[in-house]
Symmetry: C2
Subunit: 249 residues, 2 copies
């Protein structure tokens, strides 16, 4: 598996991803799931991937090849809207999966992959999409300002509680980090390092990029403070009627 998410707030878009890839439990490796495509002043796109590593690598290779050759009908640089780019990524994903379809069916292995694609084209609004394994896609909305792919359930409650359109980019980034950290604690198919890309609305320039390893002081501090804060919140919960009153009250 793996776990990636993106949060689209009024100030911009935060992208976050883990780096674990596993085929079964005895072949665990580290791969980046985040790919950034920036043409400063023109367009800025970030792609996150989850699912079959072979499929996601093939899709990224095809994206880069189409950009290099610039001969096909569409690529990430010339798509007129980000939803067209999302459609294009979905088409590449389906193309790759169909190529191995019989072998997947015969072996019972899944070649499915999901993607998140977001960013901004100069003169247009920022956009954020999730692309399903079937190639179709949905956008983030004011009511659901975040999208997740991969192992998404463990880290969803904290997003449901804390994220709104008014959340700052930094708070959204912190929330993404604790969402991934909770997932790492509960599921071995998600692991460090974490990557974070913070895109500021209308900047049309490279997102701020941060990579956090296990020994990162900032990440350790986030983990520590969050753990302490949760324990404190827990201590302050109301007592049952048969208990002594909470001495913290």
């Amino acid at each position: 598996m793996s776990y990636c998410l993106a949060i689209k707030v009024n100030d911009g878009i935060v992208f976050a991803s883990d780096s674990r890839s596993n085929a079964g439990v005895d072949y665990i490796t580290t791969y980046s799931k985040m790919f950034r495509f920036t043409w400063p002043g023109e367009r800025v796109l970030t792609l996150l991937c989850a699912g079959s590593l072979a499929t996601t690598q093939a899709v990224v290779n095809m994206i880069n090849k189409d950009l290099e050759e610039n001969t096909g009908p569409i690529n990430l640089k010339n798509a007129s809207h980000i939803y067209e780019a999302a459609h294009y990524v979905g088409t590449l994903s389906q193309k790759e999966q169909m190529q191995h379809r019989e072998a997947f069916l015969a072996s019972g292995v899944s070649g499915e992959a999901s993607f998140i694609l977001g960013g901004q084209i100069a003169g247009k609004n920022p956009e954020l999409y999730m692309i399903y394994p079937q190639g179709n896609y949905i956008s983030a909305s004011p009511q659901t300002p975040f999208l997740q792919i991969g192992e998404n359930k463990y880290g969803k409650p904290i997003l449901d509680r804390l994220i709104s359109l008014e959340t700052t980019l930094e708070d959204a980034s912190r929330c993404a980090l604790i969402s991934i950290d909770s997932t790492i604690r509960s599921n071995i198919s998600v692991g460090l390092p974490l990557e974070l890309a913070i895109y500021i609305s209308d900047s049309i320039k490279e997102p701020k990029y941060i990579k956090l390893y296990e020994n990162s002081v900032f990440y350790k501090e986030i983990q520590k403070k969050w753990g302490e804060g949760l324990k404190r919140a827990f201590r302050y919960l109301p007592r049952f009627e048969w208990e002594k009153p909470n001495s913290y009250d």
Copy 2:
């Protein structure tokens, strides 16, 4: 779906369950998933159910019939160990599923169900088991003092962080409530009322039983305080290097 969990700490066992049952999204109903069997001074057992409502109801009916008739080789009252009772519940579940197997396969509907069974037989240690849809079962352990069935991922991170063998029964109960509350917020297939049964080790008597509805003052207070505590914990997280220092520090 639905979500049930049980936590076995040194002081006893906490059982918690939601009450939502759904067949698709247009037939949502309320059913208790908790069944208590108490013979004071002899044995105390609590059963939690998730999965196909038809299967779990059939299993509970067979359990009650075997207790009434007392003719079969085993029932909940005469099993010499709780793992034998877990094996018995698994056998009933498989029997029920096999009876409709062809129809399930033909319609693509799942008749699978999972169970948690725990409690204590006088003179023996408290025990806690999870019974898989296939009828096999596992016990809780000192390293994994909780077991979950149904929609278990949303509510797992908080258990991973807070539960240990030394946790008090009341803290384990509060943790179970916030684990279910987080799940309710993130997944519409889990819903109120919640049921809580708190069994005190070596008491061999009826567990303390609490049912919490939407308008329950205690439950509302738990939700409110937990929400506030999480927001406070979040506010105190470290700032990125480019941000102003945290004014709360």
